[in-house]
């Protein structure tokens, strides 16, 4: 049995802090800024891990590297040289990750300074259907984002509604009742996806683009 849900911790609540605010923060060491960053990276644990794994690195080393990467991301001033117009958080993170992996020195020093963080608690591997590291990252990001939306929907909707969505259980529901419930669930799930993506983009208008990418990303395995 593969235990992987512990990677990245449980699905988090909505972080109202936006990527733009992080980028524009004057005080790089402020606890608020760090908290905001932590909120942003939550969705990216599994994507980063699968990206590294797909590069042919073994399970344990991949976990170490994932942890080192995020430690470095939080502790070092990776963002210092980032212009505010740098674009989406997802793109930025992937670029940074690529540089990070290419840089042996960075990696080694980050490993030493990782104290205090224990992000990865899962004992097992996380397999990916994707063919390349980029595709694995992309797919895992899509799944992770979707799973957070589903988890939040589950928290806020009634158990009957969730069963209707997840298992198609509709006993005792009239045709129009069933239709209306599914309609509401669909709208809410769309909203939740947008809410989860919103903090990671700079412009409201980029959300739709990310949502579209998300739908294509999860199914794209080649």
């Amino acid at each position: 049995m593969v235990e992987e849900t512990a990677i990245g911790g449980p699905a988090r609540g909505f972080q109202p802090t936006v990527w733009t605010a992080v980028l524009k923060a004057k005080d790089l060491a402020s606890p608020e800024r760090r908290l905001a960053l932590e909120g942003l990276i939550g969705t990216y644990w599994k994507p980063v891990y699968t990206f590294i794994r797909k590069r042919g690195i073994d399970v344990e080393k991949s976990k170490d590297l994932t942890q080192s990467f995020f430690t470095a991301f939080l502790e070092k001033d990776i963002l210092r040289n980032v212009a505010p117009e740098k674009g989406k958080f997802r793109t930025f993170l992937l670029t940074t990750l690529t540089y990070f992996l290419a840089d042996e020195h960075d990696r080694a020093s980050a490993l030493k300074r990782g104290g205090g963080f224990r992000f990865i608690a899962g004992a097992q591997d996380l397999e990916s259907r994707a063919a390349t590291p980029d595709a694995a990252f992309f797919r895992q990001w899509a799944i992770e984002t979707m799973s957070r939306a589903v988890a939040r929907l589950r928290e806020e909707c009634s158990p009957e509604d969730f069963l209707l969505l997840s298992e198609g259980r509709d006993e005792g529901l009239s045709v129009s009742d069933r239709k209306n419930r599914l309609h509401r669930l669909r709208l809410r799930l769309k909203e939740l996806l947008r809410e989860i993506i919103r903090p990671t983009v700079e412009l409201e208008s980029e959300i739709d683009d990310e949502v579209r990418q998300l739908f294509s990303g999860g199914s794209q395995v080649l």
Binding site: V2, E127, F162, E167, L187, D208
Partner: protein, 509 residues
């Protein structure tokens, strides 16, 4: 043991686990993207309250425009299709005016292959159209059942063309031609439905957020490239593009040179280069149908990809291996790549050659070992040749098309040191007339090189590629890339795509 997705029953991949509430990613995405009945869409029984003279029988279709019910018109005792447009439209103040204008035009269209609009109007908050009821199915249903035979296809196409031509004569553009909108009754008669409704109902792509997502996830496949940019400026040629896509689907892979040529033209991204009216298109497909179908050729797929504005699919990351069809024209930067002479890209992205001797341009791409090259070009000025520089396994060679002014010889250069006008591939006859785009397909294999145009074989040389060398005057800096050359002739290269057959190509930028 991993659980299966509770909807599609397929195993949930390990990377997903139970994170999506027991569903797989595809199913939950499908749920979110499913066409949602608009808020407050009335059920058949509720609709009945709005339409006193009709008995609502059943819901027969639901689409982006609204809902269609099968109904009985009580006073005339006839079956009708009652199309109720999305109630949300009532909120658009300009809609009533547009609806009246458009619906009047639609009601005036009268053609045996167009679904007749009997009546239209507004009842309460609901706009509706009362239309002829067609007992049968759609072209989509027919296509699902399997490939159509040639005669059946021809019967359907001729009716579709007749209907479209009639509408275009009356200045009505369909704007949403697709197999779902082409109904076929039990007698095999075509009835096209939803004329002009796309313009009426589809919201401005610039507005709305959730709608925008839904819109993009819709069926852009049939939409002419100019249509996805602006609905307002399209003309009847957008329908001809959509018809080209439908035609391609009806062929189901059974095509020959002439049909490929029809498709390449029908699906051109530039409206001016397409068939300009239904009659032209119909004539072309009828002529093509008289030719015996051959095995499926890759050309169609390549043309479709290009035409469908799928440029984004053609990645150009540097140093990465390339797979899938490559749009070579998009790789070219004339400033950087010209080896000799001033090459240009025109406003449509076509490559224009200079009138110079030995004009050369190196394409920043190392091809795979085996591939097919699609070339569409037009001669603008001058009477000499164009050269297509090929490479395989680190060896360069080239095809001279339309050779010399006097000799008009096409051939493969050089075989055992002998030029194309002197070896066994020499083909007499001018291949490129003036001002007419011509399609060439060139196949490079380990076992030889072949060139055909309009499904006619010009040469099919079998032999070891090691016997080939490049002509000295045509040399480019690298010895492993593709290139193009022109000799004292101005050509317009409209398409130049490569589809790998084996091996991997490499982008140099």
């Amino acid at each position: 043991m991993r659980p299966d997705c509770s909807k599609c029953r397929r195993p949930i991949p390990p990377d997903t686990g139970d994170a999506l509430g027991g569903l797989c990613f595809e199913c939950i995405s499908g749920f979110v993207l499913e066409t949602d009945p608009p808020e407050g869409e009335p059920l058949p029984l509720e609709v009945g309250a709005f339409f006193q003279g009709f008995q609502i029988l059943e819901l027969i279709a639901r689409g982006g425009m609204g809902v269609v019910y099968k109904a009985r018109q009580l006073d005339l005792d006839r079956l009708v299709a009652l199309k109720v447009l999305s109630p949300s439209l009532a909120g658009d103040p300009d809609f009533a005016r547009r609806f009246n204008v458009e619906a009047k035009v639609l009601a005036r269209l009268s053609h045996p292959s167009i679904v007749q609009v009997f009546d239209f109007g507004r009842s309460g908050a609901l706009y509706y159209l009362v239309m002829e009821y067609v007992e049968g199915g759609s072209l989509r249903d027919l296509l699902r059942r399997g490939p159509l035979d040639g005669a059946h296809r021809a019967r359907l196409l001729s009716q579709i063309c007749g209907a479209l031509d009639h509408a275009h004569q009356h200045d009505v553009i369909h704007r949403d031609i697709k197999p779902e909108n082409i109904l076929v009754d039990r007698q095999g008669r075509v009835k096209i439905t939803d004329f002009g409704l796309a313009k009426l109902v589809r919201p401005d792509p610039k507005q709305g957020s959730a709608t925008q997502v839904d819109l993009v996830m819709g069926t852009p496949k049939y939409m002419a490239p100019e249509q996805s940019e602006s609905l307002a400026t399209v003309d009847h040629r957008a329908d001809l593009y959509s018809l080209g896509v439908v035609f391609h689907e009806m062929l189901a892979g059974e095509s020959c040179g002439p049909t490929d040529q029809v498709l390449v033209k029908a699906l051109d991204r530039i409206p001016d280069r397409r068939y300009q009216n239904v009659a032209q298109f119909q004539k072309a497909i009828e002529a093509a149908a008289s030719v015996q179908p051959a095995r499926r050729r890759w050309v169609v797929g390549a043309a479709l990809l290009l035409a469908a504005g799928a440029a984004a699919l053609f990645a150009r990351p540097s140093g990465k291996p390339a797979s899938g069809t490559v749009d070579l024209l998009r790789l070219i930067d004339p400033q950087t790549d010209a080896v000799d002479g001033v090459w240009e890209l025109n406003g449509h992205g076509d490559l224009i050659s200079p009138i110079e001797q030995w004009a050369r341009l190196q394409i920043p791409y190392v091809p795979p070992e085996e591939y097919d090259l699609l070339l569409v070009l037009e001669r603008l000025e001058g009477v000499s040749s164009i050269d297509i520089g090929l490479a395989s396994g680190g060896r360069q060679f080239h095809i001279d098309i339309d050779g010399w002014q006097d000799g008009e010889i096409t051939g493969l250069n050089l075989i055992d040191g002998a030029p194309g006008n002197m070896n066994e591939t020499a083909t007499r006859g001018r291949q490129i007339p003036f001002r007419t785009p011509v399609i060439f397909v060139c196949s490079v294999r380990r076992t030889g090189v072949a060139l055909s145009t309009n499904a006619r074989n010009l040469f099919d040389w079998k032999g070891n590629l090691q016997r080939l060398t490049a002509g000295r005057s045509w040399q480019v800096p690298r010895t492993d890339t593709l290139w193009v050359g022109a000799y004292r002739t101005r050509f317009r290269i409209e398409k130049l795509t490569l589809t790998p057959v084996s091996g991997t190509g490499t982008f140099l930028r």
